[in-house]
Amino acid sequence: MSIGTIIGLWLAAGLTVIIFSFIYKDNPFYKLGEHVFLGVSLGYGWCIYYYNDIFPQAIQPLTEVGEDARNWLVLIPIVLGLFIILRMVPSLAWLSRFSFALYIGGFAGLAVPNVISGNFLPQLTSTINPIGPDWVSAITQLVLLVGVFCTVVFFFFSWEHRGVVGKIGRVGILYIMVAFGASFGYTVMARVSLLIGRIQFMLHDWIGSMTGGG
């Protein structure tokens, strides 16, 4: 194991313990770790955006030589991108409206046909299936159909939820509570998994490197 790897492991373990100290109570070490994280993530983002986006998409097309022709059309999004950054200057912030209008308007137009044909219609057609062939799949299909219908009725607020509509809405609430309960169960699983991951690092990687078992 190289010296760089050993130093890295101890640094990572130390930072892990600093953040875990928050469980006891908020303290200056935790705040320090928090702000180190913020600074490192800002710097990391800056470098990643430059080398993965700005340089290959904006700078390289203007500076390429050889058989690859320079693409001057890219000056348009570069200027619009600068308009976005000028949002930091209050007197020039209005320029960013053109950039956002182009981006948001463009994707609003793209969204309508794509989500309807690619998501809405398949979801709808997979709800309405023939009931059968056996009684187990028939009940399952009915549970699905009734559930989707009742949930949609619950979220339809143009009708007052009284009488029949109210009763259908109550069934919808029951389905929603079951779904949220399932989400809660899965959320607990997710959070515990993250803790398991850190403890695995501390035991297998950090302590393991000292005992030779890592």
């Binding site: 760089g4 130093i7 890295g8 990572a12 930072l15 953040i19 875990f20 469980i23 705040k31 702000h35 600074g39 490192v40 710097g43 983002g45 955006y49 986006d53 890219v74 999004p77 570069i78 619009l80 976005i84 209050p90 209005w94 409206r97 053109f98 956002f100 209008a101 182009l102 981006y103 308007g105 463009g106 994707f107 609003a108 137009g109 969204a111 046909p113 989500v115 998501n119 809405f120 979801q123 549970v143 699905l144 559930g147 979220f155 919808g172 029951l174 389905y175 929603i176 079951v178 779904a179 309960g181 399932a182 169960g185 899965y186 607990v188 699983m189 515990v192 991951g197 850190r198 690092f201």
Partner: protein
Amino acid sequence: MNFVKRQLPVVIAFCFGVALWAQYYIPSRASNQALETFTGSWAIILAGCALILGILSAIHHHWTKIKLKKPGFGYSIVTLSCFAFVVLIGWFPIQWPGFSDVTIADGSFFDWIFLNVFVPLDATMFSLLAFFIASAAFRAFRARSFEATALLIAGCIVMLGRVPLGELIAIPNTDISMTSIAGWLLNNPNTAAYRGIILGVILSQVAISLRILFGIERTYMGGGD
């Protein structure tokens, strides 16, 4: 000037939106080329600039805090110092001793900082949630009503059913176990409820898109004149 500042962006949004909507139904070579240019180049550059704006805003916030010596400005010095350090090692092609590569490549100092500083800090921040969700489950989740009881029972079924232990909680000589019950619950009532929600979300997505195209929704323009 009022037209340029307030009406022209709405016109641009409408024209580009309708053009890209029409492209879906007219997939000619020219329209595909236009879509390729917009999505594969222009939109990606704009998204990157928006993210850079976010970074600059955060830097500005901390710089202001230091300038005005607001409470906790020492931590802001730490933040900006770390930012400057990471940009120095990641942006400029400097060969640091002990590292095989430069800038963001594998084996560089930047990559080492990512793996040994960024990863443990990010991962540990989120792992704290495990403690708080356990504490919240114990102290706050009460079956006060019929709906809350349904929520709790479904949560407990999924929690026990989606771990290996769930296969051991079973009715002997049958296929019925906590795992199979959790699976049925997820694939049927859970699917039904979330599908209802998804259908509603898609419809509202379409509604908001139409409002943007026709200039009714203008929040993206921000405030000011």
